[in-house]
C-alpha cells in the first residue's frame, strides 16, 4: 500500500495564505487565553491539593458549601473522571499537613452517609513553584540554543533559524489550542503542570525531528538541482518526504489518541498537548520552517542583487 507517491503539490507557493492561518489561530488563542487563562497547576502555583473518592456520587455545589462553611473560601473544586472523584485545591499552605488534614476533617464532618478515601494530597511551597517555573524556562531556552547551534553546524544558520521559528510557532499554536479547548470543553481540566511541561518539551523534540527530516532532503536536493530556484527545490523535497511525513505523523497521532481516550486522567493532558503538537509540528515543518527559509533566502538574494547593481552603478559613476 502506498500513498502520496510522486506527488507534486505546490506547498510553498501558498505559504502566505498559511502564514495568515497560523496567525489567525494564534490570535484566537490569545483571545481565549485572555478570557479564560490556562490554569496553572499546583506544581507552579504552590498550594494544597487533595483528591478524594467518595463511595457514591456527590454534588460539587454541596462540597463547596461545606468547604465554605469550614472557612475555605475561593477554593477550586471539581470532579475528575467520575462524580465520585473530587479534586479540592486551595492556594493556602501551612506547616506540615495541616491544610489537607483540615480539608478532610471538614469533609468528614460535613458529609453524612457518604464515606470517602483520600487518594492523593499534594502540597507545594511557593519556593518550589518558583524554582520549577525558572527551571522550565531554562530547559526550554537551553534546548532552543542547543538545537540552534547543532542545526547551524549541520545545515546553515538560516535553516536553524527556520527550525526555531517553527518551534515558537508550535508552542504558541499548542497554547492557543489548549486555551480554545478549555473554552469549549471546560470538562477536560487541562492545566499547566509538570506533565504538560513534559508534553511541551516532547513536542519541541518531535517538531525538530520532523523539520530535520525535511531539511535533510532539501540539503540533498540542493546539491542535486544546483540550478533550480530554492523554492522549487524545497517543493520537490517536501513532496518527496510527504509519504513519510503522513505515516509517521499519523501513527504517533493515532497512538496519542488512544492514550488520550483510555490512558487515564494523569496521561490525558500529556496526550492532548502532544497530539496537538504532532499536528502543528508536521504542519510547521512545511509552512513555517521551510517557508521562513525560502522567504529569508530570497530576501538575501534580492539584497545581494541590489547591492551588486548599486556597486555597478557607483563604479560607473566614478568612472
Amino acid at each position: 500500500m502506498r500513498i502520496f507517491e510522486n506527488t507534486n503539490y505546490d506547498f510553498l507557493g501558498k505559504r502566505r495564505k498559511f502564514y495568515f492561518l497560523s496567525l489567525g489561530i494564534i490570535i484566537l488563542g490569545i483571545i481565549s487565553f485572555i478570557i479564560r487563562p490556562i490554569p496553572l497547576g499546583i506544581d507552579f502555583l504552590g498550594g494544597t491539593e487533595v483528591q478524594v473518592r467518595f463511595a457514591s456520587n456527590v454534588e460539587v455545589g454541596e462540597i463547596r458549601s461545606i468547604m465554605e462553611g469550614a472557612g475555605f473560601t475561593g477554593m477550586e473544586i471539581k470532579t475528575m473522571d467520575s462524580d465520585r472523584d473530587i479534586l479540592l485545591r486551595t492556594p493556602l499552605q501551612a506547616e506540615g499537613t495541616k491544610i489537607s488534614d483540615d480539608i478532610s476533617t471538614a469533609l468528614r464532618n460535613g458529609i453524612s452517609g457518604n464515606t470517602f478515601e483520600v487518594l492523593r494530597t499534594d502540597k507545594v511551597g511557593p519556593k518550589i513553584g518558583e524554582e520549577l517555573r525558572r527551571n522550565a524556562l531554562y530547559a526550554i531556552i537551553f534546548s532552543l540554543i542547543g538545537i540552534l547551534v547543532y542545526l547551524s553546524f549541520r545545515f546553515q544558520f538560516i535553516y536553524a533559524m527556520g527550525a526555531v521559528a517553527a518551534l515558537f510557532h508550535d508552542v504558541l499554536i499548542t497554547i492557543a489550542a489548549i486555551a480554545i479547548s478549555n473554552m469549549i470543553f471546560p470538562g477536560l481540566n487541562l492545566e499547566f503542570n509538570q506533565t504538560m511541561l513534559a508534553a511541551f518539551l516532547t513536542l519541541i523534540g518531535f517538531s525538530v525531528n520532523d523539520t530535520v527530516v525535511i531539511f535533510d532532503r532539501i540539503r540533498e536536493n540542493v546539491r542535486l538541482y544546483k540550478n533550480e530556484e530554492i523554492e522549487s527545490v524545497m517543493n520537490k523535497s517536501v513532496n518527496a518526504t510527504l509519504s513519510r511525513t503522513v505515516i509517521t505523523g499519523g501513527t504517533v497521532f493515532l497512538t496519542l489518541i488512544v492514550i488520550f481516550i483510555f490512558g487515564g486522567e494523569v496521561l490525558r493532558s500529556f496526550a492532548f498537548t502532544f497530539a496537538v503538537g504532532v499536528l502543528t509540528g508536521t504542519y510547521s515543518s512545511i509552512f513555517v520552517a521551510s517557508a521562513v527559509v525560502v522567504d529569508w533566502k530570497s530576501k538575501i538574494e534580492k539584497r545581494e542583487k541590489a547591492a551588486k547593481l548599486n556597486k555597478k552603478f557607483q563604479t560607473a559613476k566614478v568612472k
Binding site: G96, V213, T251
Partner: protein, 661 residues
C-alpha cells in the same frame, strides 16, 4: 554474511545482557505473585524464608516510581533562619527584626543567606561580629564559620532523617540531599501523611544512656524467652547467667569496635586504656555444634539439637549472647532482625518488660567475617542520664599519639558537672550514645571526666568518627527542618493510573505494529521485531542503571517507540523510492539505508540534546521522562541501523522475497 558477523555477535551480546539485567525484575514479579496468594502467617514465613534473595532482587529490579506505586514524596528544607537564630549569642530586638526580614526574603530569593544577613545588619549599623563572632575573629572568619555551620546542619538533618526512616521500616526509602539545603525523601507504600510528618519534622533526641547491668539484661531476656517458649516457670535463678556464660563459641568472629571514653589530654589515660579489659565481642553463630552444651533452659547436661534449642529458647536462638564478653549485648543477624522487632512489640512481651530496661539497636550492622551481618541489640537503662542539649561542640580528629580516629566532645558548664558525676559513678561501665532510640556508640567509661571535655576512641575509621560527630552535634544543635513540598499518592490512584496507562500504551503499540505490517509487509514485520528488541534494550539499560520507572517515563518510552517507527519509515520510504526508479532489491536496500542515515542521525542528535537539557534542568518526573527518552534514543539508533539491517540482509541472502509494500 561475513561482514555482518561482528554485528550479529554484538546484537546477541546486547540481547543477552538485557535479559540478564531484566531477569531480577521478572523474578521479583513472580515472587510477588506467589506472595499475593498467601495470607497471614504464611506470607510472613514466606518472606522470612526468602529474605536474602528478596533483598537482592529488590536491589536489582527496575523500581517503580511513587506515581505508579503509591507512597509519599516529601521535600524538606533546613530552616537556615532558625539555625541563625539558635547560633546567635547576644540576641536583641535588632537581630529579631533582621531575622524576620530575612525569613521573608529567603522564601522568595535564592541569594546567599549570609550575604543577605550581612547587608540587612549593615543597614541597621550592625555587623555579623556583634552576634556571631569571638573577639579576634574577622568578618571573613565569621562568614566562613557560619557557612560551615549551615553545611553541617544539612548533614545532620540527613542523618537524623535517615535514622528515623530506617526505624520506621519503609521498604526502599530514598533519601537524597539536593542542592544547598534540601532533602528529598521518597517513601513508597506509605499512605499515612500524619505519621510521616511526625517522623520527619520532630526535633532529634540525643541521649546518653547507661548500658544495663548484664545480670539484669539477661534476666529480662530470660523472661521474654519464657513467654515465647510458653514456659510458665518464671522463677529466675542464677542459672540464666551461668548458662549464658557456658555457651561455647564456635566461630571467633570479628571484634566490634571497642570504644573508650576518656578524659581528654589525660596522660595517664594511655596506661589506663591497657588496663581496661577489652570488651571483645564474639558471636555465636548458628552452628549446632556450639549449641550442644547450652543449658539455657536449665538443662546443662543434655545435648540439644538445633531444632530443640530453637523450640526451647526461641529468643536466644535469634538473639545470641557472647559468654566471654561480660556484656549482655545480643547479636542478631540482619535477616532475623524483623522477627526480633515483632517479638519486642508483642503485648505479652511488653507487659513483662520492666521500666528500667529498654532495648535499642545498633546503627550499623557489622560483618562477622563470613558475610553474615549482625546488628547489636543493646539492653539499656530506661532513664537517660543526660540529653544531647548539654553538648556544646563535637569534633572528629586523628589522635596524634596513637594515629587513630577520635571524637572530641565538649559540654557546657551545667552538663559538665552532671557528666563528672555520671562518669565518676560508672567507671568501667558503658554509656550508650543514643539518637532517636538508635545506639551509635557505646563506649566504656575509663575514669571520671571533669571539665566537660571527653574523648571517644576506638572508631574503626574516619567515616565512623565523622558520623559520630554529626550525631553528637545533632543533639547539640538540631537542624530545624520544614516540609516545603509534600505529595501523597494513594495506591489506588497509583493502580488506576498504571493500569490505564499501560493498557492504553500496549493497545496503541499493537495498532502501530499491525499498521506497519499491513503497510510495509515483510519490512513492517522486521520493524516490529526490532521494536520488541528495542523495548527489551530500554528495559535492560534501565535495570542496569537501577533507574526508576515513572508515569512520565512510560510517556518517554512511547515517544521513543514512535521515533523507532519513524526511523523505519524513513528507511523504507527511501528503499521504496530506489525500487521505484528501477534499482534491484539489494542495491535499493543498501542505498536506502545509506541515504536515510543522515536524517536519522540528525533527528536523534537533536533529541539527545533536548533529552540531556531536560535531565539537567528538570525535576523528579521530568527527569524520569528525559532518562527513558535518552535510553530509548540510544537503543533505537542501534536497533534501526544495525539490527533491522542485519535481519533484512539475512532474509535477502536466504532468497526470501522481501517486500516493502
Amino acid at each position: 554474511m561475513k561482514k555482518n558477523l561482528t554485528r550479529i555477535i554484538l546484537t546477541l551480546v546486547f540481547i543477552f545482557l538485557s535479559i540478564y539485567f531484566i531477569y531480577p525484575t521478572y523474578k521479583d514479579y513472580q515472587f510477588n505473585k506467589e506472595l499475593s496468594k498467601l495470607t497471614g502467617q504464611d506470607s510472613i514465613t514466606f518472606l522470612e524464608q526468602n529474605a536474602a534473595e528478596l533483598k537482592e532482587l529488590q536491589q536489582d529490579r527496575i523500581k517503580l516510581g511513587l506515581d505508579l506505586k503509591g507512597g509519599m514524596y516529601v521535600v524538606l528544607d533546613v530552616d537556615v533562619v532558625k539555625l541563625l537564630d539558635d547560633l546567635a549569642k547576644n540576641k536583641d530586638q535588632v537581630l529579631t527584626d533582621v531575622l524576620n526580614q530575612l525569613r521573608a526574603s529567603t522564601d522568595a530569593s535564592d541569594a546567599s543567606v549570609i550575604e543577605q544577613l550581612k547587608s540587612m545588619l549593615a543597614a541597621r549599623g550592625q555587623t555579623l561580629k556583634s552576634y556571631y563572632g569571638e573577639t579576634r575573629d574577622t568578618e571573613a572568619d565569621i562568614e566562613a564559620k557560619l557557612e560551615a555551620e549551615i553545611n553541617g546542619a544539612i548533614d545532620r538533618a540527613v542523618e537524623v532523617v535517615r535514622n528515623r526512616v530506617d526505624q520506621y521500616g519503609v521498604a526502599e526509602p530514598q533519601i537524597q540531599k539536593v542542592g544547598g539545603n534540601r532533602i528529598i525523601v521518597e517513601l513508597p507504600g506509605v499512605s499515612n501523611p500524619e505519621d510521616v510528618r511526625n517522623l520527619l519534622s520532630g526535633t532529634a533526641l540525643l541521649e546518653f544512656k547507661l548500658v544495663a547491668e548484664p545480670e539484669n539484661a539477661v534476666r529480662v531476656m530470660q523472661l521474654i524467652n519464657n513467654i515465647l517458649a510458653g514456659t510458665t516457670d518464671t522463677t529466675l535463678t542464677n542459672d540464666s547467667l551461668k548458662t549464658s556464660d557456658s555457651t561455647s563459641v564456635a566461630k571467633d568472629t570479628t571484634k566490634s569496635s571497642d570504644k573508650n571514653l576518656a578524659v581528654k589530654k589525660d596522660t595517664t589515660g594511655k596506661n589506663k586504656k591497657d588496663t581496661i579489659k577489652k570488651t571483645d565481642t564474639n558471636i555465636a553463630s548458628n552452628d549446632t555444634s556450639l549449641l550442644t552444651d547450652t543449658g539455657l533452659a536449665g538443662d546443662t547436661t543434655q545435648q540439644l539439637s538445633e531444632e530443640e534449642f530453637k523450640k526451647k529458647n526461641p529468643w536466644f536462638y535469634l538473639v545470641r549472647l557472647n559468654p566471654d564478653g561480660g556484656t549482655a549485648d545480643g547479636f542478631v543477624t540482619e535477616n532475623d532482625r524483623p522477627a526480633v522487632e515483632r517479638i519486642l512489640q508483642r503485648p505479652d512481651v511488653l507487659a513483662v518488660l520492666p521500666s528500667d530496661v529498654t532495648f535499642a539497636w545498633s546503627k550499623e550492622a557489622f560483618d562477622a567475617g563470613d558475610g553474615t551481618k549482625f546488628y547489636i541489640l543493646y539492653a539499656l537503662k530506661g532513664e537517660a542520664e543526660l540529653t544531647g542539649k548539654v553538648i556544646s561542640n563535637a569534633q572528629s580528629n586523628i589522635d596524634p599519639t596513637s594515629n587513630t580516629p577520635v571524637v572530641n566532645m565538649q559540654m557546657n558548664d551545667e552538663g559538665a558537672a552532671d557528666w563528672a558525676r555520671i562518669t565518676g559513678a560508672n567507671v568501667n561501665k558503658r554509656i550508650a550514645i543514643v539518637l532517636d532510640n538508635v545506639v551509635y556508640s557505646a563506649p566504656v567509661v575509663r575514669g571520671k571526666i571533669t571539665g566537660g571535655n571527653s574523648q571517644i576512641e576506638g572508631m574503626a575509621n574516619v567515616q565512623e568518627a565523622k558520623l559520630l560527630e554529626i550525631v553528637l552535634k545533632a543533639g547539640a544543635l538540631p537542624a530545624p527542618l520544614k516540609i516545603i513540598e509534600e505529595r501523597s499518592i494513594g495506591p489506588s490512584l497509583g493502580e488506576d493510573s498504571i493500569k490505564a496507562g499501560i493498557t492504553s500504551s500496549i493497545a496503541a503499540l499493537i495498532i502501530v505494529a499491525l499498521f506497519m505490517m499491513v503497510w510495509y509487509r515483510t519490512g513492517g514485520f522486521i520493524a516490529d521485531i526490532a521494536l520488541v528488541i528495542n523495548v527489551l534494550f530500554i528495559l535492560g539499560i534501565m535495570a542496569s542503571f537501577k533507574a526508576t520507572l515513572t508515569l512520565p517515563g512510560i510517556a518517554g518510552l512511547i515517544l521513543t517507540l514512535g521515533m523507532a517507527v519513524d526511523t523505519n519509515v524513513l528507511i523504507y520510504e527511501r528503499i521504496r523510492e530506489e525500487l521505484g526508479i528501477g534499482k534491484p532489491l539489494k542495491t535499493a536496500i543498501e542505498i536506502g539505508f545509506k541515504k536515510a542515515f543522515s536524517a536519522i542521525l540528525d533527528s536523534h542528535v537533536t533529541s539527545i540534546i533536548t533529552g540531556v537539557i531536560l535531565y539537567q534542568f528538570g525535576t523528579g518526573p521530568i527527569q524520569g521522562f528525559a532518562l527513558t527518552l535518552l535510553f530509548g534514543i540510544v537503543a533505537n539508533l542501534f536497533t534501526a541501523i544495525v539490527i533491522t539491517h542485519i535481519m533484512i540482509d539475512i532474509l535477502v541472502e536466504k532468497g526470501v522475497k522481501v517486500k516493502f509494500g
